[in-house]
Amino acid sequence: MDQFLIILPFVLAGTLFGSIVSLMPSLHIYNVAGFALLLWQVIEGIMPPEAIAPFFMSMIVGFSFINTIPMTFIGAPDESASVTILPGTKYLMTGRGYEAAVLTGIGGLGGIFLLAALTPFFFLVLPSLHKIVGIHMHWILGLVMVYMLMSEWPKGTGRGETVWARFKDAWANLFAGILTFGLSALLGLIITSKSIIRAEMGFQNIMPVFVGLFAVPSILQNLLSRENIPNQHIPETVETDWKSIGKAMFSGGIGGMIAAYLPAVTAGIGGIIAGHATAQRGDRLFIISGGVSKVIYYVGAFLMLFIISPISPNGLGKGGLNMILKPVFSPEAGMFPLMLGTIFLAGGLSFLLLLWFGKWMLVLLKKVHYHILYWIALIMILGIVSGLTHLNGLFVMAVATCIGSIPVFYHCRRSNCMAVLLVPIALNMAGYGPAVAHLLHLE
């Protein structure tokens, strides 16, 4: 009981911190983890060791729920929501933005229940599966990359008055997608081989890249937009049923699990694969499954760190989030139930905060034009990047912004930007990373 009382305030604090931070538009989980690490250095003496992991877990849960709000209301998604942004925007433009946010939240709750239900799978099947699959991960990532590119191909025959116009119409965004993929891959190879960010901020090497690829282009796109957000209605009920929720949980669960397990694969990419695999249709299903996928991706990836078994003595966690937080704590056997309890508590609280923050955001948007919010967000992002990584980081961010703007303004998938991590990780796993770095004269 004593331990519960020690941990509880930090779970609540983590949920609140994650929720507040995620209100900033287009912030990625890597950036949030970086802020958390900086915060931890300040509160290190205050936080007892047993509360560190629950604090970070509740922060991630809060983030996975509340980042729905900027994503839906001001069209500012991170990469994980790139598949669902259009349905959410459609709801927003018909005055049903709040309903879209609530549906996403319902999906998030479904994701939490799925994580609990998958516990036997995590401990009995996943470690053995990882032992078999782990050494072939580079092949799997290669297949994911091929699928990402090929699934955008072809897009109809195109229309136009001339042959060139028809060709351009049919292939422009496809080539833009391939170009985005290639440029992102090069950017990732440069940053991972020999970053120009100063060593003292090594843990935020990737931050300017992600901010530039995802956050800033979204902000620019919305600043250039002259759309006005119509009046939003706050309903007492939402239009859904258990069957839809079940279908969405199935599809979102697959996408989220793929993203949680495979390195450098995010919920956006997982969502594409799952959406095709389950032939998902309908905006409502997309939105709910997006919520499921997001929670399973963010929370599940961190939860896997605590799957400690004889086959996986160091856990199965992967990804930048775990790498950033590894210096702070080490998972121990037996912590999984504590983490699951934290997820349930933080998830319920986050859903309630989503409802409240959603209404608050609507009130704010009535008083303040969303362009102003975007300008504030842009200034804050520039301030954070320059404060942490100085001019070098700003330059990297600028280059990444240009690359990230290609899919936004040429209407191809933003998931192609994930080549920034997919390609370097796959090459390193295959053993070719150093050879490529040598080829680029980055050794």
Binding site: L37, Q41, L86, T89, K90, M93, R159, E161, D169, L183, L186, L187, I190, S193, K194, S195, I196, I197, R198, A199, E200, M201, G202, F203, N205, L220, Q221, L224, S225, R226, E227, M323, I324, K326, P327, V328, F329, S330, F395, V396, A398, V399, T401, C402, I403, S405, I406, F409, Y410, H411, N428, G433, P434, A437, H438, L440, H441, L442, E443
Partner: protein
């Protein structure tokens, strides 16, 4: 039916606009009424400037910020800002990436000290410089691990599944313990294992200063050499087996010193000749050793005995007490200046014998001073009766190779082998 207006579609029919007769589309004049047959104009797509809203005013469907409606192809009046942004994005991406690449190539990797590493350095690519304090090779896993000490701290460098690659690239330049190296890599900091670095490429590891161990005479090895790696060339004059090790007494022209070889080290030796020599008094060997200290006494330990070249058999010579006669006799007065653990040869007369529970305290006297010789019952029991009786005879003169030891601030000597005890005539 209507012509698509495509000149290649010659077999298609069209109707005369005047009389309605069906004629080939390629026909210029109607054969009936003579009116010119004009091809129907192509369907032109409506070009209507759209507003800035998200719904197409032509078909009313939701399209977002597209230039052309994907449903009805109504073309949106493209704003200058959008075109400019596209061009800036494309150009900026290409030029920026090239500049970033050049910048990365030109950038010097930050060099830091191990002692300055903190959690913020996690995943940073840095350069470290220092000496290797250990080299651990795991052939079975194709892995090697190095420990680097730069004077401010120690860090582990790991080459998982990279041993073969590094050996192939570096050859004889593969780092050894004691080498001064410079290494570039990505820091990996965990709460469990602390700071470490993964070595991915042989090109990022440079040996700045090769460690060449010094060859030293045994008598010149002092306490200040503790931890140092040296080469010694000596004869094994005595081997005493304990439960888990062998204590070898080495001797060269300057003196003697103890070498401890644990059973695990001995059993791991692949070379049969070396193994056999190590187990045989009289073997003369050249060895790479590390100076160690045990309970205040200096001793030697084999350094990487499995590595080829670190243990070499030079020859064999039977150990005899006669050889001891050629050794320098140490006056008992010099005992105070000797270090505990040193081996000396003395010549003295037994003046007094006092029995204690575990053995005998034998007082010795030479022309310079007196000294205490401690002989335990176990040693006496291992001797022949004749020799033990002589040793316990007051007035007997002895010459012996003894080990200096210290007990409660008193220097004393101990016999370590019956072979190095001679009874002289008065």
């Amino acid at each position: 039916m209507s012509s698509s207006g495509n000149a290649d579609d010659k077999n298609m029919l069209t109707s005369c606009p005047q009389c309605g007769r069906f004629v080939d589309s390629g026909t210029e004049k109607c054969p009936d009424c003579g009116s010119p047959i004009r091809p129907e104009p192509e369907e032109t797509l409506p070009i209507a400037p759209l507003g800035d809203g998200t719904h197409c005013p032509s078909c009313g469907k939701f399209v977002g910020a597209y230039e052309r409606c994907p449903y009805c192809q109504a073309e949106m009046k493209v704003r200058l800002s959008l075109k400019m942004v596209r061009r800036i994005a494309m150009g900026g991406a290409l030029i920026g990436l090239v500049l970033l690449w050049f910048g990365a190539m030109m950038k010097q990797v930050d060099q830091i000290h191990v002692g300055d590493i903190n959690v913020n350095h996690n995943m940073a690519t840095v350069k470290l410089e220092g000496r290797l304090v250990s080299v651990n090779i795991q052939e079975a896993n194709n892995t090697f691990k190095l420990a680097l000490d730069d004077g401010t701290g120690r860090i582990n460098l790991s080459g998982f599944d990279k041993l073969e690659r590094f050996r192939k690239a570096l050859g004889d330049g593969f780092p050894r313990e004691g080498d001064k190296i410079e290494v570039t890599g990505q820091l990996n900091i965990t709460e469990k294992f602390g700071a470490g670095m993964f070595l991915s490429s042989p090109e990022r590891l440079k040996v700045l200063e090769r460690f060449e161990p010094e060859q030293r005479m045994l008598d010149l090895v002092t306490d200040e050499d503790t931890g140092r790696i040296l080469i010694v060339e000596a004869q094994i004059i005595d081997i005493r087996k304990t439960r888990a090790s062998r204590n070898l007494t080495l001797r060269d022209d300057s003196g003697t010193m103890s070498l401890t070889v644990f059973d695990s080290e001995f059993d791991g030796l692949a070379d049969g000749a070396v193994k056999s020599a190590l187990d045989k008094p009289g073997s003369i060997m050249k060895m790479l050793v590390k100076v160690d200290s045990f309970r205040g006494n200096l001793q030697l330990r084999l350094k990487n005995p499995r590595t080829e070249g670190n243990l070499e058999v030079i020859g064999f010579q039977t150990v005899s007490p006669a050889a001891m006669r050629r050794e320098k006799i140490t006056p008992l007065a010099d005992l105070a200046w000797k270090n505990s653990g040193d081996f000396i040869t003395i010549e003295a007369v037994i003046t007094k014998i006092r029995e204690f529970k575990a053995g005998r305290n034998i007082m010795l006297k030479d022309d310079t001073d007196t000294a205490l010789l401690v002989v335990f019952n176990s040693f006496l029991d291992s001797m022949s009766k004749e020799k033990s009786d002589l040793l316990l005879t007051v007035g007997q003169k002895i010459r012996a190779r003894v080990k200096v030891s210290q007990y409660r601030d008193t220097m004393q000597v101990q016999l370590f082998s019956e072979k190095y005890l001679e009874f002289l005539e008065e």
